[in-house]
């Protein structure tokens, strides 16, 4: 069921994005999305254009959150932050520092 999957992924992404991940139930977005799901729930088996639209919007928002998270991860990993320390350079080529245990 596409709708449930989108809902689960959305809540997961919201949890990852949120500043205080523990309290996802209190977050505005999660509450709004759950309310929307309740609203369109009754029309499950019928052809309902608004429902398709709602799922499309849900997927779009999911894409937004996921892409932004991945973008930030890549940025964090690859964006230059000045010169590497000796330790980082050693790790890069697989050497150990003289101070490291053997």
């Amino acid at each position: 069921m596409a709708g449930t999957k989108v809902l689960r992924s959305l809540l997961h992404e919201l949890r990852l994005a949120s500043h205080s991940p523990g309290k996802i139930k209190d977050s505005l977005a999660a509450r709004y999305i759950l309310a929307q799901y309740k609203k369109y729930e009754t029309t499950d088996q019928q052809l309902c254009k608004a429902r398709d639209e709602a799922i499309f919007l849900g997927q779009t928002y999911l894409t937004y959150l996921t892409s932004l998270r991945k973008y930030n991860e890549l940025y964090k990993e690859y964006h230059g932050s000045g010169e590497r320390t000796v330790k980082e350079t050693a790790d890069l080529v697989g050497f150990k520092l003289p101070t490291d245990p053997k």
Binding site: L14, A17, S18, H19, S27, L28, A29, Y32, T42, T43, C48, K49, A50, D52, E53, F56, L57, Q59, T60, Y61, T63, Y64, S67, L68, K70, Y71, N72, L74, Y75, E77, Y78, G80, G82, E83
Partner: protein, 278 residues
């Protein structure tokens, strides 16, 4: 005696070289402006007569121009509040596409009018990505035919136009009649919504794809994949570099998704249709 002389000389040499020695100047470390710190703990949405506002703790959110942030749609305000809540230590404004779009629409910093924007969009048709195809390489040509042609056909059917793809560098001919039809469609949107449209078109470099994704014909991921079709094709031979290809793909997806959400939530009157209970 002799030994002491030698140690003294060495010491002198050391001191002398210590004075002369200078730290090598760090070349090319770019100094970025530090983003503002996250100064609030919680974000919330207020409902007022004129629309929905976003609060950061007890302060009301304002646009960069200083006007009060108000939007007509509740989900849009919630998305902005969520985006502000998602900031960690600093507020990274360049990565808040939904908020940025709302700010642009409210402030309208370039003082664009509706005819300006429609003209901009119309002028884009002649440089639309999917209309420029390439027939010197058979595989690429086949790929473009299979992937792009259905979208062009859909567009022509939807807007009753007759856009033709081109196989060389000459731009495709767009008749005035077609332009009128497309202009009429864009004129039916409000000024704010057109901001979202322009953002989507600039992201995809294609009006055809932007219309297809906003009319829910294709998903956001698919639209971005189609606009990067040749890049994806070349990647098969030259390899995928995470910090260039994946990076740009994720950015385009985030930007396009923001634009699509913005357009949809801005004309949500026709989106919420209550079912009548018999």
């Amino acid at each position: 005696m002799n030994k002491q002389l030698i140690t003294n000389t060495i010491r002198l040499l050391r001191i002398g070289s210590g004075i002369k020695w200078q730290a090598p100047a760090l070349t090319a470390v770019r100094q970025y402006a530090t983003p503002p710190k996250r100064f609030y703990k919680t974000t919330n949405v207020l409902s007022t007569d004129s629309g929905y506002e976003v609060t950061l703790d007890h302060r009301k959110l304002k646009t960069p121009n200083g006007t009060l942030f108000t939007v007509k749609s509740e989900p849009l305000a919630i998305a902005v509040a969520t985006e502000f809540d998602a900031q960690k230590e600093h507020i990274e404004r360049s990565r808040m596409h939904i908020s940025a779009l709302c700010f642009t629409a409210i402030d309208n910093p370039n003082k664009l009018t509706k005819p300006d924007m429609v003209n901009y969009l119309l002028n884009f048709i002649a440089t639309d990505t999917v209309l420029f195809q390439y027939d010197n390489e058979k595989d690429l040509q086949e790929l473009q035919q299979n992937e792009w042609d259905p979208v062009i056909d859909w567009f022509n059917q939807r807007f009753e136009t007759n856009l033709q793809k081109t196989m060389d560098i000459t731009p495709p001919q767009v008749s005035d009649e077609d332009k009128m039809k497309i202009a009429k469609h864009f004129h039916s949107y409000s000024l704010e919504t057109l901001h979202g449209y322009i953002f989507a078109v600039d992201t995809l470099k294609s009006i055809v794809l932007a219309c297809a994704v906003i009319e829910q014909k294709i998903t956001v991921e698919r639209a971005v994949a189609l606009s990067r079709l040749e890049e994806e094709y070349q990647l098969k031979f030259w390899g995928r570099v995470e910090w260039a290809h994946d990076f740009s793909q994720q950015e385009l997806q985030a930007r396009l998704a923001a634009a699509v959400l913005f357009v949809h939530l801005n004309c949500s009157e026709n989106f919420i249709k209550q079912k009548s209970i018999i």
